[in-house]
Amino acid sequence: MNEAAGWMLPDAGHLAFHAWSMATAAAFSAACALVGSFLVVRRMSLLGDAIAHAVLPGIAIGALAGGQLGGPLVIGGAVAAALLTAWSTRLLRTAAGLAEDAGAGVVFTTMFAAGVVIVTLAAARVDLDPECVLFGSLELVAFDLMSIGRLMMPRATVSAVAMLALVAVAIGATWRWQVFTAFDTPAACVVGVPVAAVTALLLTATAVATVGGFEAVGAVLVVSMLVVPAAAAELLVHRMHRVVAVAIALAVVAACLGWLAAWACNTNAAGMIAVVLGGMYGLAALVAPVDGVLPRAAAGINLAWRVAREDWLAQIWRAQEELGGGRAVPRPMPRSLLERAAVWWLWLVGQVEDRGGLVRLSVAGRREAETVVRSHRLWEAWLGRHADLPLDHLHPPAEWVEHHLGAAVRQRIEAEMAGGPDPHGREIPPESG
């Protein structure tokens, strides 16, 4: 089928095929990302995974009873299976003392397997393919149409959009209660929020969201969509409505990109969407402001670079102080690559003058160095007065505090010390303007 269509002919039917497939995946993904956001912030994503699998027997029984894949019987079966999963997981914990994760593992694997058995046995009677259950058949969505009024729409698209609407209304209407319960269940309970019902509604919504695209996208993508967009969003933003908005945006973008990538590579769409989503999470973890890997690494490198420069300036300043009269001193040996780079940089920007192995600070370099030395000696003086430490214990902490002491703190310490030398009897340089 893929080969037949290719990329060459952007005719109307071809466009509709892509549009319907992407719309289905996007609507389904948005619904999952919405409920998934609450599952993730409540540390319930494992239960979400469990439900995504455990709805299968409910769907199968509902489909058998109703004679079609869809409709209220299928939704009802899925919701019942979801609640049964949550309830029996808790029962395993309270009655059998099984840890929550192990309990969920026992329940959902059993239920999913039961679902596979039912589907296989009933495959002859209902059009439910075990392959589709795992990997979905997004590629076939556009070929199973139904009429809504005068409009012909794929059955799966209608189903996914309907489920998205249901879930959005349910979560939207109980939004504040959902957030309060998720954040602080006991306190919510005391002010009268029906926390058990709020949680049951969230689990029901999870079941409904997963039903919306079960046949089209399969269990693998359901699990991925429930957890990954929300987890990525939580890295990027820090208020609940933003987490939900970003999660939905990521899910929809991943659905569309994944679909197109799968088409280009001629592979399974649901699998490709999940891979794209995983990649987006990795990207979020890299670039997330403040907590991301890259910003943290950048902050670390930045600090190390500043420390190296300041240490070098202070070292020369002290050597010059010892010699007296602002005379040049022999250039010390840099001890590391970073220090070597710092030496070169300081010479380049003109803070250190270097003449034939003799170095001295320029006016700008002197000003920077004095701030560092001043911080160092003020801290030694303060520690000496307050911590009652032997003299040789004062230098090491001052050696790193000197890079972090702000002007305000320096001023406070100085006011307290009222001038005077540091504990080693050396003069504390004045604050340079």
Binding site: T94, W177, F183, A187, V190, V191, V193, V237, H238, M240
Partner: protein
């Protein structure tokens, strides 16, 4: 029985609480008649937090009952405020300070109404009373422990209740926040509210609380602070733990499992 002119604000009647079949609090009888700063004191594992949770229906009571204003909690929810221990919530949760304080108004608002201008003004005023008005838009994970506790306090204030139950509001909190929190609690008392505080530090208890209850899996004594915190009572609560209750509790739980 004579009809009482006005029922106690909170009344525990023969309350026994069990976790997983194991009793942890035995036969507590306690009535608090008037607004005051009321401390719940006792050693680790004495059931102090459990007493609060039992009162609020957060743990099932296996015997006895608790009443607020002579009736069940469900009829007077709006008049009862609760501040759980700080560690019980995830402070990385995606909400800011204002969001948390506004939660105090959700009980009044019901499930569809949005907090409006009045609620926001109230929340800001409550934040101001705990000294946090300038961090209203900060994510809660970026506050210090003392500030986080004060956010919880502000949420309780926004609830505008008549009875407040605080679970260890001063644990792991810097000295400045402690002073501030205690000042707010005292102001609540002066405004005619009953403030019940679970606390572990005996020294502070003497200075701060008008009345206390001394617990050690059962009620050792209750009443005005000076009368309760006597060497004899303290010895009974701290040194002379009734081992029997502990053992019995374990035995009951064991029996429930094998039966």
């Amino acid at each position: 029985m004579m009809p009482q002119p006005s029922p106690p604000i909170v009344e525990f009647h023969d309350v026994t609480v069990a976790y997983g079949g194991r009793p942890v609090l035995w036969n507590v009888d306690l009535a608090i008649e008037q607004a005051c700063l009321f401390g719940v004191i006792g050693p680790n594992g004495a059931g102090k937090s459990t007493l609060l949770k039992a009162a609020l229906g957060l743990v099932p009571v296996v015997g006895g009952y608790v009443r607020f204003f002579g009736t069940s909690l469900s009829r007077v929810r709006g008049r009862v405020g609760y501040v759980p221990q700080r560690e019980t919530v995830d402070w990385d949760f995606p909400v800011n300070v204002m969001d948390v304080v506004l939660m105090g108004t959700y009980g009044r608002l019901g499930w569809l109404a949005r907090p409006g201008r009045r609620e926001r003004a109230l929340a800001l005023e409550c934040l101001d009373r705990v000294g946090l008005a300038d961090v209203a838009t900060r994510q809660i994970g970026r506050l210090s422990g003392g500030q986080q506790q004060r956010v919880f306090l502000a949420r309780a204030l926004a609830q505008q209740a008549d009875v407040y139950l605080f679970d260890e509001p001063l644990a792991g909190v810097d000295a400045r926040s402690q002073e501030r929190i205690f000042g707010v609690l005292a102001a609540l008392r002066d405004a005619g509210r009953l403030v019940i505080v679970v606390h572990h530090d005996l020294r502070m208890a003497v200075a701060w609380f008008d009345r206390v209850a001394l617990l050690d899996m059962r009620l050792v004594a209750a009443g005005p602070t000076q009368e309760v915190l006597t060497p004899e009572h303290l010895r009974r609560a701290y040194a002379g733990r009734v081992e029997l209750l502990d053992e019995l509790g374990r035995a009951v739980a064991e029996r429930g499992r094998t039966a």
